[in-house]
Subunit: 429 residues, 2 copies
């Protein structure tokens, strides 16, 4: 735990230092003794060992809001979505986005498990509701782990019975560690943001490390705030922030059956009113927090050695910019070139060329960080040595201008390494 | 040359033996001494060393039809298309698909080369026309190799001057070897097909080995027949065959700036009339030939160790079946699992689930060869040991039924290996 925590702190500190925080934001000081208790007012978290797949570690987590919280969530768009995803989507609707708890297990995804899987997810919500004396539809359920195996419900139930006694507000570390599967470090962060009527806190924990084994590497994000905010507005802001963060990272282009991002707002703190300046401040803070968590996911994984920010600008529309950026970011050829620290601009423009985004090749311009690589479609007079210095860094940016409009999009991607193949080629066996 | 030729013959013989040939088709016997002279009547081919990038080997090739031939072609859909692609597309139109020659160089793609690149491609056509006393617009030009460098036109011109003296009809080996870049073996095949008014021959040569360095690994296919066929019908049949062959293979999902498939029909042999049974026979033979060439491309490349036939059936439409098959075939997770010989069905259905093809998870059925892996969305009672035997084979099939209609599609893909990363990560440096 110490090693993974140190890796987490090193990485979080590096990313936080690079972040330009928006107005009113104070990032949390973390890492010193006792400084992990930054869960917002009105929430408690717990974790326990359910022995679902792992032994000797916690694999079940519970987040509880003292009172009904405004809730918002986003779920995987994969047609093969897991039972807990179906259940949680239903519960959010049934309870009119007023929720009390999130329960999550790791080690088993409860995906491709048919009717029994749905019954098991329901049983998890029922058990949590019974323990906390709340309604089952006030519970969100999430699972991550292997596909196609039924949950060991006796152990799951015992875990849920044990969870309430572990609830506390002193540290998020237990909860975030319990949802790790192939993650190599826990991912969490928090910021305070000063609104007109007081300061509110936003805290997030996440898991995901697609480079290792995405069957086990569902992307999960759980966020909490003490702000008072209507669920409709919360959903709008969460969706927008998600588009710019978790949906703007790509590890290998695959989408899990279990992906879920959920946010609870306890209302114990200052209010965020739609259309106010407070909304803009809160929204910007949420985006920064979620982008930081998303970058942590890209950085994680034994296969990944680079975090590359890919921006496409000058597109006909933001949608076409994203199309081009995503095609570049997912190209195996581009990703191997990034791994090999090779200034292979030909692969980048070839990926853009097949993306569907419209442009004239003679207008293309390309930069690595600030260094021009292509000008007006032709190779710029750049120094291969200076390019090599940029490409050797653990993180840098690639910017492609299509010269065809004002649409733009930014994604974060990583490299494709031999370790990725090694790990993914031998995972199940 | 001997080693690569042996590899070619071994592979071609294996694939030819697996092929179920359509009515009237006689596959060529190849490989014994002197048995490479199967170019159809009315054509000659030549090759020479232009020293464009390589030394000590031929890197320029010329195919000539004795008289104006019906022509058809397909070009890359990449927006960044190379100068020879633009030129050849124009020439095909200007000459009303009546062509006399195809010239091709390897080592330099003449892509991302701007106005000078267009002038150079034109100069290649002009020089060939001058040598052969034909019109420049009767010449198709193709290039494959590195992107972003101007052609060494003095050497290219000298090569074109030298080519006519090398023209002969005894062997295709020189021509097919001259267009290899990172290919590890030459790709060629020919069949005879008995039509109502006589037997015609179809011969094809191809290059491509996407697993190695697709900057250098443009997919090129050149086909010739002595059939008498109108260019419009030839284009229709070539497009259809291309859809089922070269467009139905995926190595890493990237599309080159220089891809081109061109076919010439000399008219020296029997006629193929639109709507006749001969058309059906000719079309089926062409498809078989091109599928064999396409499979050779998938098999090639140091990174690839598996040839996997991926069929999706039971889709709402053929288009949705192809969408699902392509997403599965291009998934890095599926490809690494294939490499690791891992019966990882979860990755396959997760890829289908994010493809956009519509289905109900409870209706999914999956087979490796004939072995059921999933039945009605749940894991079938299969033997992991028996599955392991299938997955250890160099080629096998994966069939996914969506249970939602009658649309189907078949693609051929390969695995993703550490060698792929090794080679692509270190190519330019």
């Amino acid at each position: 735990m110490l090693t993974t925590l140190n890796k987490a702190l090193d990485t979080i500190h590096r990313l936080a230092a690079e972040t330009v925080w928006s107005e009113g934001v104070t990032p949390m000081k973390i890492g010193d003794s006792g400084e992990f208790g930054f869960w917002p007012k009105g929430f408690s978290v717990g974790a326990t060992a359910g022995n679902i797949r792992y032994s000797g570690r916690d694999d079940m987590m519970l987040i509880v809001s003292d009172s009904p919280a405004s809730a918002a969530a986003l779920f995987t768009t994969n047609l093969c979505c897991a039972a807990p995803v179906v259940l949680s989507r239903n519960h959010l609707q049934q309870s009119a986005a007023s929720m009390r708890a999130i329960v999550c297990n790791s080690g088993n995804a409860n995906a491709a498990t048919g009717k029994q899987g749905m019954a098991d997810a329901q049983a998890m919500a029922d058990a949590v509701a019974e323990q906390l004396s709340i309604k089952p539809e006030e519970v969100l359920v999430a699972s991550t782990g292997v596909i196609g195996q039924l949950l060991p419900m006796e152990r799951v139930h015992a875990g849920i019975v044990a969870l309430p006694a572990t609830l506390q507000s002193n540290s998020v570390l237990g909860a975030v560690s319990a949802i790790m599967t192939t993650d190599t470090f826990p991912k969490f962060y928090a910021v305070d943001v000063a609104l007109s009527s007081g300061t509110v806190r936003l805290c997030g924990i996440a898991k995901g490390s697609g480079m290792i084994c995405p069957n086990m590497a569902t992307m999960l994000g759980f966020l909490a705030t003490d702000a008072a905010i209507a669920p409709e507005l919360l959903q709008t802001l969460l969706s927008e922030a998600n588009r710019k963060s978790f949906n703007a990272i790509t590890v290998d282009g695959d989408t899990s059956t279990n992906d879920m991002v959920a946010m609870l707002a306890s209302g114990a703190g200052a209010e965020v009113v739609a259309g106010s300046k407070d909304e803009a401040l809160f929204s910007a803070a949420l985006q920064s927090l979620m982008i930081l968590l998303a970058k942590l996911i890209v950085i994680d994984g034994e296969g990944a050695t680079k975090l590359v920010e890919i921006t496409v600008k000058g597109a006909v529309s933001n949608e076409e910019a994203e199309l081009a950026a995503r095609t570049i970011a997912n190209s195996s050829l581009v990703k191997t070139a990034i791994h090999g620290e090779d200034a292979n601009w030909g692969r980048i423009i070839a990926a853009a060329g097949r993306s569907g985004a419209r442009f004239n090749e003679d207008e293309l311009e390309l930069w690595f960080n600030e260094m021009p690589i292509l000008k007006k479609g032709l190779i710029a007079d750049f120094s291969e040595d200076e390019a090599a210095i940029i490409l050797a860094q653990p993180s840098y940016s690639i910017t492609l201008s299509l010269g065809n409009g004002s649409g733009s999009a930014t994604l974060w991607s990583c490299d494709l390494s031999k370790e990725y193949v090694e790990i993914n080629g031998s995972y199940r066996s």
